[in-house]
């Protein structure tokens, strides 16, 4: 592939995903985009691609998630590099056999004879009263499926670089993006991020907060407000969930001795649970207090605005947990 050029000006998150895909399409004719309403790019990551690349490479599909993800698995095995926009990541449940049993297993079952260079992109998280089937963050299910890489960028910089890394990877990668962050602004700098990376911002000394997507934004806001109280919070944005950046996660807790793990998925068997368990196993000696998990309780996402707000961790919840961790 040709040298990567990061967009220099400030970008919004969803266009940064589209920028990354379009660069990959220019570099490599095997990259083809398909899925639901990708030509108008209703969800953002594919907007504008049809204008440049035309209907041969930006293909609108019927609402047949199992078949168009399955066809992408076959096309990836056959030498293309499909990028499939599934709209809402909850729609992946309809295609879950193709993701879990097929994309995530074929390489292993065949003893490494083939590769599945596939990207499945979908929104994840609550954007305001979309109710139980269009608001979830199912990242833990993708991790449990095995054989899938999973990234969840929270900034335009992460979005650009992680999407590039996803398209260039020879593994199936699920790229999640938060619908309420589609217009989040930020600069995309030339320092690349890849699968397995995390971003630490701000750096702190008293307590580590681990978060992803919208939760990373709320964690950063909580860190700013706690700074005024004299509490130094380190936020580790776990923008790659598979591979999990354990080195960064462990190093942070070795330094701060305290951990709050935040997740927009449901608590039971969540990403938060996995990070907390890993810390308990591998950094127990460094912990000065119990690990705190904040996640959606084991209920679906409700419709009414006040109910939706009640089940998803907010900035105040994060600040309270971090404060308790430090002050006991």
């Amino acid at each position: 592939m040709s040298a990567v050029e990061a967009p220099s000006q400030a970008k919004r998150l969803a266009p940064a995903l589209a920028d990354a895909i379009s660069q990959c399409m220019r570099d490599d004719p095997r990259v083809i985009v398909w899925g639901e309403d990708v030509r108008i790019g209703v969800m953002g990551p594919t907007r504008g691609l049809a204008d440049e690349f035309g209907p041969e490479r930006v293909v609108d599909c019927p609402i047949s998630e199992a078949a168009f993800v399955g066809a992408a698995v076959g096309a990836a095995v056959g030498g293309l590099r499909p990028v499939v926009d599934i709209m809402f990541s909850s729609f992946a449940y309809v295609a879950f056999d193709q993701l879990a049993n097929q994309a995530g297993r074929l390489r292993y079952m065949t003893g490494g004879q083939l590769a599945v260079p596939l990207v499945v992109v979908g929104s994840a998280g609550a954007a305001g009263s979309n109710a139980a089937q269009h608001s979830e963050v199912p990242s833990a299910l993708f991790l449990q499926a095995g054989g899938l890489r999973v990234v969840f960028p929270s900034t335009p910089h992460q979005a650009f670089w992680l999407m590039r890394a996803a398209v260039e990877s020879d593994d199936p990668v699920v790229v999640l993006h938060h619908p309420a962050l589609a217009a989040a602004r930020g600069s995309v700098t030339p320092e690349p991020l890849g699968l397995g990376d995390a971003q630490v911002d701000p750096v702190g000394t008293d307590v580590s907060v681990f978060a992803t997507g919208m939760m990373a934004h709320r964690a950063r806001a909580a860190a700013r407000s706690l700074e005024a109280e004299g509490i130094s919070v380190e936020v580790v944005d776990v923008c790659s969930l598979s591979p999990m950046p354990w080195d960064v996660i462990l190093a942070s807790v070795e330094k701060t001795g305290r951990a709050v793990v935040v997740d927009e998925g449901r608590l039971t068997c969540s990403v938060a649970s996995e990070i907390a368990a890993g810390l308990a196993e591998r950094a127990f000696g460094a912990l000065r207090t119990g690990i705190r998990r904040l996640a959606v309780p084991d209920v679906p996402i409700p419709f009414a605005p006040n109910l939706e707000q009640a089940v998803i961790p907010g900035e105040d919840d994060i600040a309270t947990a971090a404060r308790e961790a430090v002050r006991g």
Binding site: R30, I32, C61, P62, S64, A66, A67, F68, V69, G70, A71, A72, V73, G74, A75, A76, V77, G78, G79, L80, P82, D97, Q98, N101, Q102, L106, R107, Y108, M109, T110, G111, G112, Q113, L114, A115, G146, G147, R149, S169, D170, D171
Partner: protein, 320 residues
């Protein structure tokens, strides 16, 4: 081409492959009875003509996806009995290093992309493989083998729709052996015929006698020639018979709904057709039987002598 000339040209090869499949599978039944073969194994005895009729129309570079009952597809595609036995017995020298087993035997370089343990799991893959072949200008075709059980999976209809919209070179082959696992297919399948379901998407679709290798081959040749010339997808329902149960050993817990069918043997039918075309079929059959029984025995012995996979291999090949 006349029936006689097709038989003169291809009959001996067909007979050899069909005999190989039959003797290969019979050995597996023995190994299962003796306890040497672990796991679940689904045998293709009785369905040889379908696999051989379709696969003998394929060229190098063409790709197939297969099913939990797929040994006959793999042997008909040209995979080696030795490496297949090694895979099925969980040995290091198996096609997948012993990590796939009976339901996942595959050889990517030989166009056998994958056998699938999920009913209907590989159908959409064939559409994607065909699309890739078309976009990359490979000139190859893809064949999706699946059973009558998969005819009731939604992904089949989604895949037929996509293939028809995209006009990709894919052949859907429904191997209708009469049983959906343990249940007679006609008890769980509405509408009377499976191939008619494909016709509503505008695909050329037909049902053939799946135990008549000549009929299967004729249908496949026609469909594949059309696909190679840009004519798009097609659908063939091969009506065949499963001589054994859903899987070996099921008699320990499952009572068949009805007696297994005893249709005319597809191997004997081919031999008789060859004799009818003036070939010395009986002599040929006995020679082939001797040679293939020897090949199967040698292949099994070689596979048994293979080591188990290194334990470390269990942790490899998850990611690139």
């Amino acid at each position: 081409m006349s029936r006689e000339s097709v038989l003169r040209e291809r009959g001996a090869d067909w007979l050899r492959t069909m005999v190989r499949i039959r003797r290969f599978e019979e050995k597996l039944a023995e190994l299962h009875r003796s306890g040497e073969l672990v796991g679940v194994v689904h045998l293709s005895i009785g369905q040889e003509a379908t696999a051989v009729g379709i696969c003998s129309s394929l060229r190098p570079g063409d790709q197939i996806t297969s099913t939990h009952r797929g040994h006959h597809h793999m042997l008909a595609r040209g995979l080696e009995p030795r490496r297949m036995y090694a895979e099925i017995l969980g040995r290091a020298g198996g096609y997948c290093g012993g990590k796939g087993g009976s339901m996942h035997v595959s050889s990517f370089s030989e166009g056998a992309v994958g056998a699938n343990g999920i009913v209907g799991g590989g159908i959409a893959h064939a559409v994607g493989l065909a699309l890739a072949a078309q976009k990359l200008g490979k000139g190859s075709v893809a064949v999706a083998f699946f059973g009558d059980g998969a005819a009731n999976q939604g992904v089949l209809f989604e895949s037929l729709n996509l293939a028809a919209l995209w006009q990709v070179p894919v052949l859907f082959v429904c191997e209708n052996n009469g049983y959906t696992e343990f249940t007679p297919t006609d008890a769980v399948t509405a509408g009377g015929s499976i191939f008619a379901r494909a016709a509503i998407f505008g695909l050329p679709a037909e049902a053939v006698d799946g135990d008549d290798v000549i009929a299967v081959h004729r249908a496949a040749d026609e469909a594949l020639a059309r696909a190679r010339n840009g004519g798009g997808p097609a659908f063939i329902e091969c009506r065949t018979n499963r001589w054994r149960g859903h899987h070996e050993g099921e008699e320990s817990y499952a009572r068949p709904y009805r007696e297994p069918p005893r249709p005319p043997d597809p191997l004997d039918r081919l031999e008789q057709a060859m004799a009818g075309a003036g070939l010395d079929a009986a002599q040929l059959r006995s020679t082939i039987e001797l040679e293939e029984r020897a090949l199967v025995a040698e292949s099994l012995a070689a596979a048994r002598a293979e080591p188990e996979p290194e334990t470390s291999r269990a942790f490899e090949d998850v990611f690139a």
